[in-house]
């Protein structure tokens, strides 16, 4: 595995750029550990100061240092994306592997369910969810909700791989040697689908961060936990753009775009690495 990573870093420029971008973002998030101010304190620095040496990204109208606030925000945003991705991965893996292995009626039932979740417009449902939860809405609850809604794309992909694994000889050998379905799925099939799961995880993190930012910007989440979206929400609330406090909006947007592009490049390059045809195309 380490040699694969090393080769990717050395020969795949998309992968290398993605890793560097993400390293910057994660390093920035790690800075939140040494922040001089707690994230929710306001009026700890003079408000509306443009970027300068003392405040590299300026300060907000609420008297917060954008730089340190941003470290907390990106950390929470990343954690959110990873939580949703891990939870929805568990669902996608279970459903995809079981459907692909079982085939027949179970497969058809699970895939109809799957297609349904792909088609249903999630945004109005999430808004409705916020609407009934209101003040009870929390970070974890939203993550759980989104994980329950966001597994479908990958389940379909995993299922198509599991279907071809089912036809392979080693699966028959495993069945004849008396392994249970659970043992076969976890011990025999899971290792084959894991690489593609890593690649789609990046896309899923992107998806969940995107939705979280959108919901928070509209004020439809817990607006007291600093995330990138909440940061932009407060900037909009103080009409930062019209008031000319551009640094309050620019830096969060910039950082989140870096995150998106980094994750996307990782997903694309890993996908390419997994698919031998495109790897060949790279050599010739």
């Amino acid at each position: 595995m380490w040699t694969v990573l090393r080769d990717l870093l050395r020969h795949n420029r998309q992968f290398a750029v993605g890793v560097v971008l993400l390293a910057v973002v994660i390093g920035f998030a790690a800075l939140s550990l040494v922040s001089p101010y707690p994230p929710n304190d306001s009026f700890v620095v003079p408000p509306d100061v443009p970027p300068s040496l003392a405040y590299p990204m300026g300060t907000t109208s609420r008297g917060q240092d954008v730089f340190w606030l941003l470290t907390f925000s990106i950390r929470n945003t990343l954690l959110f994306g990873i939580t949703v991705a891990v939870l929805s991965r568990l669902l996608a893996l279970t459903i995809g592997l079981v459907a692909g292995y079982s085939g027949g009626l179970i497969d058809r039932a699970l895939m109809s369910l799957n297609d349904t979740f792909i088609v249903i417009p999630l945004f109005p449902i999430l808004v409705l969810f916020y609407f009934v939860m209101r003040d009870h809405m929390s970070w974890g609850l939203l993550a759980l909700m989104m994980a329950c809604l966001g597994w479908a794309y990958d389940a379909r992909l995993i299922r198509s791989m599991a279907m071809s694994l089912r036809q392979r000889e080693f699966t028959d050998t495993a069945i004849f040697s008396g392994m249970s379905m659970r043992q076969i799925l976890i011990g025999e099939h899971l290792p084959y689908v894991l690489p593609i799961v890593f690649s789609t995880t990046m896309n899923n993190i992107n998806w969940s961060i995107g939705l979280e930012v959108t919901l928070s910007v509209l004020g439809f989440t817990d607006i007291n936990t600093p995330t990138i979206g909440v940061l932009i929400y407060w900037a909009n609330q103080h009409t930062a753009m019209v008031a000319g406090i551009w640094w309050w909006i620019l830096f969060p947007v910039l950082l989140v775009v870096i995150t998106f592009v980094g994750l996307f490049l990782l997903a694309v390059s890993m996908n390419e690495h997994i698919d031998p045809r495109s790897r060949l195309g790279r050599i010739t």
Binding site: I120, P121, F123, I125, V127, L128, R134, L218
Partner: protein
């Protein structure tokens, strides 16, 4: 049952399932709340301005009916479905007593127009460019187009819309950034009004196209570069068939099928994008209506929009699915 009837039956079944599960999720979500929704909604709706006690009593009554808080959970469930079937979500609370269906009916054409135009643009342009890029692999300009399209692809709709808003609203203010047409302009069929409609829709459409283009581009490029290696393409090339003809009817035509399925599958996500974009640009469609409904605490309107969204997206998906056999003769013949 074989061939087309079977295809039709499975598609209709899938459609029914989508609607069924979607509405069920809406029901579960609205009933999972730990708070008293009726009093909360009334408090939120009457927060601004004064409302007469009679109107509040009427609101409370219709809210109770709407939430279906009368009777057991089974009766509530049936009442909920009846409401959906009839399309009656009661009066709006923020625009009392206008019915919710009227408000949605007013906003829906805007969203549909925005979506149809931007999807047609995105899908056609993305597939065309992607197909060309897959066929002419050495073209510099196509490679550059690919990099630009892929650069926008991972960024969510809101951020792209916000960036466009900043660029065209503050840095280079040449386009209107808010509304569906110029304020106070008479809504009639004149060139000035149509022009105003067009200029106001440029930015929302542009942001939808920018985000959407990359996906179709990449999908089509890899599909085409797979089809190009097929024997029949090589054979056609050796046989001296014109390259434009090979590209159009040998390569693109075949690669287009998965993209049509892809369109049906990503319709929900595109719809999400459209309602977000609308909100950013103050476009008077479903999205803006939804956000203002939440801020006004208008439960019936939020529920109505959610249900209508689920229904209309599934109908659109069904339509695409029904068009599919026209493009793919194999479905008809099987």
């Amino acid at each position: 049952m074989t061939g087309f009837p079977l295809y039709l039956a499975t598609r209709l079944g899938q459609f029914a399932l989508v609607v069924f599960i979607g509405i069920n999720i809406a029901f579960i979500v609205t009933h999972a709340t730990p708070i008293n929704p009726v009093e909360q909604s009334i408090a939120a709706a009457t927060q601004f301005g004064s409302t007469s006690p009679e109107a509040i009593a009427l609101m409370r009554q219709s809210l109770k009916e709407l939430y279906g808080l009368e009777g057991g959970i089974g009766a509530q469930y049936i009442a909920f479905w009846r409401r959906v079937a009839v399309g009656d979500f009661g009066p709006s609370l923020s625009a009392f007593p206008t019915p919710v269906s009227t408000l949605i009916g007013r906003a829906l054409p805007w969203t549909v127009g925005l979506l149809v135009i931007s999807i047609l643009l995105t899908w056609t342009l993305g597939n065309l460019l992607g197909g060309l890029a897959g066929y002419f692999r050495d073209s510099r300009s196509l490679r550059l187009a690919g990099i630009i399209a892929m650069g926008f692809h991972p960024i969510p709709y809101y951020i792209v819309a916000l960036i466009l808003l900043i660029v065209f609203g503050y840095l280079w203010p040449v386009l209107p950034i808010s509304g569906g047409y110029m304020m106070n302009m008479p809504r009639e069929l004149s060139w000035a009004f149509l022009g105003s409609l067009a200029t106001h829709s440029i930015l929302p459409i542009l942001s939808l196209v920018l985000v959407g283009l990359g996906g179709w581009f990449m999908g089509m490029r890899s599909l085409v570069s797979n089809v190009v290696t097929e024997d029949y393409v090589t054979y056609a090339e050796l046989g001296g068939v014109a390259r434009s003809r090979i590209l159009a009817s040998y390569v693109m035509r075949n690669a287009l099928m998965p993209q049509v399925t892809g369109l049906a599958m990503s319709l929900g996500a595109i719809f999400n994008g459209a309602i977000i974009t609308e909100q950013v640009f103050g476009y008077p469609g479903i999205g803006s209506l939804l956000v203002s409904a939440v801020h006004a605490g208008d439960y019936s309107l939020v529920l109505g929009i959610t249900t209508v969204s689920i229904l209309s997206v599934s109908v659109a998906v069904l339509l695409i699915d029904l068009l599919y056999p026209l493009l793919d003769p194999r479905v008809r013949a099987r």
